[in-house]
Symmetry: C2
Subunit: 218 residues, 2 copies
DNA sequence: GAATATTTTTAGGTAAACCTAAATTTTATT
DNA sequence: AATAAAATTTAGGTTTACCTAAAAATATTC
């Protein structure tokens, strides 16, 4: 069965929202895709006809088993290409999302099979997100928000979320990247900033803004 | 300036037809693209408005300087991806065209820059066709049709054209590939087959059908 | 050079993916 | 429970890229 680029983007986005919010609404999806609610409604009907989502008018919706499988395939393609861009072409992690957003729609299954093998079947993309394997299985690693981590406990950064701006400059300045070991010494409620401590470096203050996008293993 | 996937395909195809026929007509383009003449006319008007082609109704048309530049960029992307698919992912030369047909439309310039560097700035794609460099320059190597080559003269295969079917099986059977040294002993006008001689192999007969798609340096 | 054939364009449609504005349904508030 | 607010859908457009069938222009043939 053929799915258009738009259909793939919708399915993938439903998958992501479902993963973090548990439930998906027309407006949430419209927001995530930068589209208007009316456009989303139209597409929802199309996706339902293709048996990719469970949808009743005016109600929240969810992916069907099939929809989930397709979503995982697109996510797999996206993350494998991101891995390729960073580890083979030398891009930095914050530059690859938009390119992968296009490459994820190249349709050849054989291509992805071979790409995966060529990259050594990586389990995580450059942002620390798990790459679904051929069967859609994800290596489950808990991503704990740095803002919620217990005080004075050493943790390891395992994921960084891109948020539009150029947060990566800041992270580079602090020398925080995936694999960095650090602990949170204090949390300042006033501006929700944190004092963190990294090996061989004096304690540093980071804003809640940044901390929100840093995840780690406890 | 943005060009859609369709616009890129049209421009590239005009470039190819121009290269072999010298001149491009609505019907020729429609045939090459698998579209109807009416659709082509419509697109021609769009391409003219974008100053990519020189076009007068009912007349043959040609690429403008800008059109040529864009065409070369798409050709460059196509052939670099083909090279990647064969030399990095292990595809065989006859499997890569359709995949590259999709990948050539990924828009990032930086991506192609880096891909080129990663591949070692190759000058020829897996079919033996030259890859335009960043400035659109092509390494000119004369591709002589094996059917036209002088008799009893050793030549080297430098290009193989894919023609839908599975000619590659035949070529593999004869062990003919890019780089193969051979000479044409005889030409049989009756069915336009050729007797060829390769190093360390007894003479063999190949059909005109196949020979037409083999090119070499004299 | 007129008649015929071929090529190309125009006219009029369709489907996908978007949009705005208005109507409808659901949810929240008094 | 009635009303107000918010979310969602429907109605009616637009643009892109296709299509078929008919008309117009160009080329070929007698
Ligand atoms: Mn995408
Ligand atoms: Mn990622
Ligand atoms: Mn293409
Ligand atoms: Mn090629």
């Amino acid at each position: 069965m053929y799915f258009s680029e738009s259909e793939e983007n919708y399915i993938k986005e439903i998958y992501h929202i479902q993963a973090v919010q548990g439930t998906v609404s027309t407006n949430a999806l419209a927001g995530a895709l930068g589209a208007r609610a009316a456009s989303v409604t139209e597409m929802l009907k199309k996706l339902q006809k293709k048996k990719l989502i469970n949808y009743k008018p005016y109600k929240n919706f969810s992916l069907t088993e099939l929809g989930n499988r397709i979503a995982l395939e697109v996510v797999r393609k996206h993350r494998l290409w991101e891995y390729f861009l960073v580890h083979k072409l030398g891009f930095s992690w914050h530059e690859v999302h938009d390119i992968a957003e296009e490459m994820e729609h190249v349709s050849s299954r054989e291509l992805i099979q071979r790409l995966d093998h060529y990259l050594g079947s990586p389990a995580f993309d450059p942002h620390g997100d798990p790459i679904p394997d051929k069967n859609g299985k994800l290596k489950a690693v808990k991503q704990n928000r740095l803002t919620d981590v217990p005080l004075r406990k050493w943790v390891i950064v395992n994921a960084l979320k891109e948020q539009g701006g150029n947060m990566h400059q800041l992270l580079k300045h602090y020398d925080i990247h995936i694999g960095t070991r650090l602990k949170v010494n204090k949390r300042f409620d006033f501006d929700s900033s944190l004092e963190i401590k990294m090996d061989k470096l004096p304690p540093a203050i980071i804003s809640g803004e940044v901390a929100k996008n840093i995840y780690c293993t406890i």
